[in-house]
Amino acid sequence: MSFLMLFVLVPLLTVIAILFSKNIRQTRWIAALGMSLQLILSAVLVVMYLQIRAAGIADDFVMVKNLSWFPSLNFNLTLGVDGISVSLIALTSIVIFAGVFASWQMESLHREFFISLIVLASGVFGFFITIDLFAMFVFYELAVIPMYLLIGIWGTGPKEYSAMKLTLMLMAGSALIIVGLLGIYFHSAPEGGQLTMNLLEISRYKIPENVQNFLFPFLFVGFGILGALFPLHTWSPDGHASAPTAVSMLHAGVLMKLGSYGVFRIALFLLPQAAHNQGALFLILATIGIVYGALGAIMQKDLKYINAYSSVSHCALILFGLLMFNRSAIDGAILQMISHGIMTALFFALIGMIYGRTHTRMIHEMGGLLKVMPLLGAAYIIGGLASLGLPGFSGFVAEMLVFFGAFSHADTFHRIATVLAASSIVITAVYILRVVGIFLMGPIKDEHHRHLTDATWWEKLSVGTLLLFITLIGMFPSFVTETLIGNSLAPALERLMSNF
Amino acid sequence: MISLTFHQAVFYFFSAVIVIFSILTVTSRRILRAATYLLFVLLGTAAFYFLLNYTFMGAMQITLYAGGIVVLIIFSILLTSHVGDKFEPIGAGKLIVSLLISLFGAGFTLYVFLKTDFTPSSVGLPDASVRKIGNALLSYQRDGFVLPFEVVSLLLLAAIVGAIVIARKEPADNENLNNE
């Protein structure tokens, strides 16, 4: 029994406990309890991880534990974490914690809702704690499937369409991923040994370059779909717009990171040569995605669409950073995963709360809400400022790391890409301020909005948690970039750099 | 001059009956007449069995088929149709396609049958006495049929029960579903 297993077991136990809950009060308290426990567990994990590192253990992955699963195929449930997965686990528990409180008032089918939500979360946790490709894939699917139900049942607007679209596109991604994974599996033992899905064992060998070139697009695009790679991002606006609050939070906040994590952990780590060969192409797509998402957000009228496009832009920045193949850019990209995860969760939480009051998400139908609900409004503005990369918040540090890393490539191609990517900080400012100006500031447009209430305690808790972490990371970025992530970048960097 | 034995004459007569009434059965536009024609076909078949000396088989054919099934069919016709009803004429396309398929199938099958060189057995006539059939049906030795016999009896039971279940009057609360 490994400590890491708790991250999957606690959600599952929570789910079982929810099955026996009698009413919504019990359901949400059980969910809140379980997820608080999860938050504490991840804090413990961070501490444990730091202690292990402090003890001088320099393995790529720590707390490795091998549980046999399909012995005949040598598929194992191999647990193990490094700094990156630890920080992403922490991110997930923060977001799901806030998500539970953000959906405090989910009345209809509350039991089923919380169960699906937590199953989804446990899939994400599972994905981050394993280093066996097959187990990762299984958990990945576990995370994607409840999404369909969550959007299809509890969504708003054209929810069936969105749920279908989202699920189908992600499933298409899965199809590509499984091809890529099997390809790696069958080349995991070049000297005729036992085939394996274990990340560590695969990384000992070099997969032949032509095989790498063949498999890389499958894995990059497959995970890229989830990471909102242009032009395969279109599930994101519809999906997010239709999903209920907590689902949008979890999805944009964490699930999209599964994509970029997969790109980093599997595509780049295992196929470094192909990454070099084909990096330029995907870099172009990522750059387009950054600018395109931001420009697309300017003219949107629906709050959720704005945020969804913003997510496209920010997630493209993650891929952009990863494809720079150097320490600071990748460091920044991973920090951006965390930062964007919290930030976008905050946005979706706030949008959900505002929508719950005004019953509209159209920015032009609202106005002057800052006066009516100062806390939510202020939180939205702070979130907006964080999103446009204000120093003091996490997004700034991540962006700077990525830009610095990107700028250390002195050739014209990378320079132009960097300048274009950097221009997104202006465009981001434009759309964020436009939205804030229209719906939070100005005179109150709808007289009915005059009597709306401000945040309740659970909303304060949800929003406060997220804000706290955005600020903490922004103020003390070194803790994440150096202490947590720093050492863990080395193996991947080594493999990526060795080709130069 | 083709010499025709009595047997042959009888055989050809019943063959003609069977073929003609078969075709009439499927082309008649009055359902009750079709049922009657079917009865003739079945009786013709029974005559075949008698001709081939399978008297028990022939008897079964008459009692079960001609007596049982046809009566059943006629009952159901009376339950579901008006006696004077005529079928609508069949669409030309459907008619042609079906006809083509049937003729092609018949031609093809006949071609195969006539092409094949069947070597008749020289053992002699089969023994189809009721005694032998009765023994064989209840025998568990070689050439015994007690297992299929039992299976068939179970099947019959199941069919009876099934028929009752299906045909029984439905509960009233399902009425509204019927009209959807």
């Binding site: 599930w235 320490r327 700034f396 100005g442 005179p443 970025p477 | 093809f108």
Partner: protein
């Protein structure tokens, strides 16, 4: 190790105030907030003065050069192998001078705001933001490295955004705050790229190593850039664009006039005295790099500064909004400072322009803050911004009138007042090397005198309009800062500034250049005289003149339509032809492709589904045909084998 470790407190005390107030902004009574904020900024002020005293007086120059001292610093973020971002305090001539400027004006504005914002619902919020701004600005000026400057650069931008949009229910204020933020953000993009470029080539952010001429040899500055510029020139121009955005240089000046939507104390603090000079300060910070590495970039700074100065002065003569006149005046004066930097050389006497620029920055901060605070007092009293609706106020607001007059005289370059000295230095510096800049600045000096006195006469003299309430001098809280700043506006000119602030750290002995001084004084007097003639009493001469100069007047009045050009570019080109098509493209083409794929699948399945019609006979057809075909093949196969 060093005596300046306490300097980190200077910015941190206002930060503490910000946090205290913002987390209690519903609980704190106004009095508590005011007392807390003012006393905290007071402590910062005292510490700043103490720092200056310690640095300039106690320590003095070391071997004839003022040292650059790192007060304290720590590594905040590692950016790469060699580069890391530090946070800390750098104590040198410029930063200490700026500490004084920022903390003085900030303290004055805090005191003033107690009176000015007294009846406002957002009193606590206002003070919280003021504290936030003070924190950011103080951190900016004592930044040890260019990246720290960038960080706080953004934060002052945000404070400015929050304060301009303070009356967030007023659409014009919202629009102005948005505009200010986006325009400066746009410029910051270039700043950032400049930082990226220069740090890539020098491997350092630190001002001490970055600006030390002895290091320049070691920097790897080779490589090609576009337009044939050298790398340092390109990088420094990019950084200057950042500075130009914050300092409202043409053509990025458009946000500053609109920023006057904020409360008057904010205009005084942020948009006159401190934040807007950050651009000047930035160029001054990296002056060695500009002067030695890329003189062409420095020349650009000079010309842009001079042009902006003239441009804004011309517009200022036509504006009728009290605060907008002052805003254009600010732009013009900052242009002055930029021009002074541009014409300066590095070190010794050649560095006169640098010193003059800093001097003008210092004096300008005092009198421009005074002007804005005075404007605030007037607006507070008469409830309008339009100078057409004012007049004859000298009778009602005696103290305000006198302090305003002092400030006006100071900015107009009246001999004996602070502006006279600093402006004189600038014009002298320009005279030495750049005749074009020199004449421009001279013309601007005349224009400045003219439009400031136009403003002064229109407000305090001229025909008295009918006021609903009798205007009166504001309360003590507002008057005291006015008086203090008036005193400072007079005396700050007598500081031997060159002794303290110079381009290379060595004290620079300056003296008044009488020839230049006489010319510039004459020009100013001409300006004042014309204003006197036209505006002291209401006369129809002005309208005649306006009619004569119709087109030009209209252009100047409309700020040469720069705003409209921007609006056209952003709304009609970027929004309409880029963003909207992208939104459309995304919905219909990219998403459409996905939907077409889905549609194909669905349609195919519909067709297949159609076969499953429930029509028994169709199944039978299929069945029989299939059986026949299969058996035909089978038989054929059997026969042939």
């Amino acid at each position: 190790m060093n005596a300046f470790e306490y300097t980190f407190l200077i910015p941190f005390i206002p930060l503490l105030g910000f946090l205290l107030i913002i987390f209690n902004f519903k609980r704190f009574p106004k009095k508590l907030t005011a007392a807390l904020a003012t006393s905290l900024i007071g402590i910062s002020f005292v510490l700043s003065v103490y720092t200056a005293w310690q640095y300039f007086i106690i320590m003095g120059p070391l071997h004839g050069v003022y040292p650059k001292i790192i007060g304290n610093h720590f590594e905040w973020l590692k950016l790469g192998e060699h580069l890391s971002v530090h946070m800390g305090t750098l104590i040198d001539q410029a930063s200490v001078m700026m500490l004084i400027v920022v903390s003085t004006v900030s303290l004055m504005v805090h005191i003033y705001s107690i009176g000015y914002m007294h009846d406002d619902r957002g009193f606590n919020r206002f003070f919280a933001f003021l504290q936030l701004f003070s924190f950011s600005m103080l951190s900016l000026v004592i930044a040890t490295n260019v990246f720290q400057i960038y960080i706080f650069w953004e934060l002052v931008g945000v404070s400015s955004f929050l304060l301009i949009g303070f009356y967030y229910e007023k659409p014009s204020a919202v629009a102005a705050s948005k505009k200010a933020f986006i325009v400066t953000r746009f410029a910051d993009l270039f700043f950032l790229l400049g930082i990226l470029l220069i740090s890539f080539h020098t491997d350092t952010f630190d001002f001490i190593s970055l600006t030390n001429p002895e290091n320049f040899e070691r920097f790897n500055l080779h490589g090609t850039t576009f337009l044939g510029l050298s790398i340092p020139a390109l990088a420094l121009i990019l950084i200057f664009v950042g500075g130009a955005g914050k300092s409202a240089m043409f053509p990025l000046h458009i946000w500053l006039p609109d920023a006057m939507e904020g409360p008057s104390p904010v205009s005084a603090l942020i948009h006159a005295a401190t934040m807007v000079v950050a651009g000047v300060y930035l160029v001054a910070r990296m002056f060695a790099n500009y002067a030695i590495m890329a003189p062409e970039a420095l020349a650009l700074v000079g010309y842009v500064g001079a042009f902006t100065s003239l441009f804004a002065a011309v517009i200022a003569t036509t504006q009728i909004d009290f605060k907008r006149v002052l805003a254009f005046s600010t732009i013009s004066q900052i242009g002055y400072m930029m021009a002074a930097l541009g014409v300066s050389g590095y070190g010794e006497e050649a560095g006169l322009g640098y010193m003059a620029s800093m001097f003008h920055l210092f004096t300008h901060a005092m009198f421009k803050a005074l002007l804005f605070l005075g404007a605030g007092a007037v607006i507070h009293a008469v409830h309008t911004n339009s100078i057409r609706e004012m007049g004859g106020l000298r009778k009602y607001m005696k103290t305000t009138h006198i302090t305003f007059l002092i400030a006006t005289l100071a900015i107009a370059g009246f001999p004996g007042l602070s502006g006279f000295f600093s402006k004189d230095e600038i014009i002298t510096a320009a005279h030495q090397s750049y005749p074009l800049v020199f004449y421009t600045l001279l013309v601007v000096a005349g224009l400045t005198a003219f439009y400031m006195f136009r403003l002064y006469f229109l407000v305090f003299w001229n025909t008295e309009t009918h006021y609903h309430h009798k205007p009166h001098d504001p309360g003590k809280a507002m008057l005291i800062p006015l008086i203090i700043l008036a005193v400072l506006s007079i005396v700050s000119g007598y500081i031997p500034f060159g002794e303290f602030v110079s381009s290379d750290g060595k004290p620079l002995h300056t003296h008044l250049h009488f020839d230049i001084a006489i010319i510039s004084t004459l020009v100013s007097f001409v300006g004042i005289a014309i204003a006197w003639f036209l505006y002291k009493k209401s006369s129809d001469l002005t309208s005649h003149l306006i009619a004569r100069w119709g087109t030009f007047y209209r252009w100047a009045y409309n700020k040469f339509y720069i705003d409209e050009v921007y609006l056209f570019i952003t709304h009609n080109i970027i929004f309409a032809y880029i963003s909207r098509p992208i939104a459309w493209f995304d919905r219909h083409v990219v998403d459409g492709t996905m939907n077409v794929i889905g549609w194909i699948t669905v349609t195919t399945s519909e067709k297949i589904k159609g076969m499953q019609s429930g029509q028994l006979q169709q199944y039978a057809f299929a069945f029989v045909s299939a059986i026949l075909v299969i058996s035909a093949f089978l038989i054929y196969y059997l026969i042939n084998n």
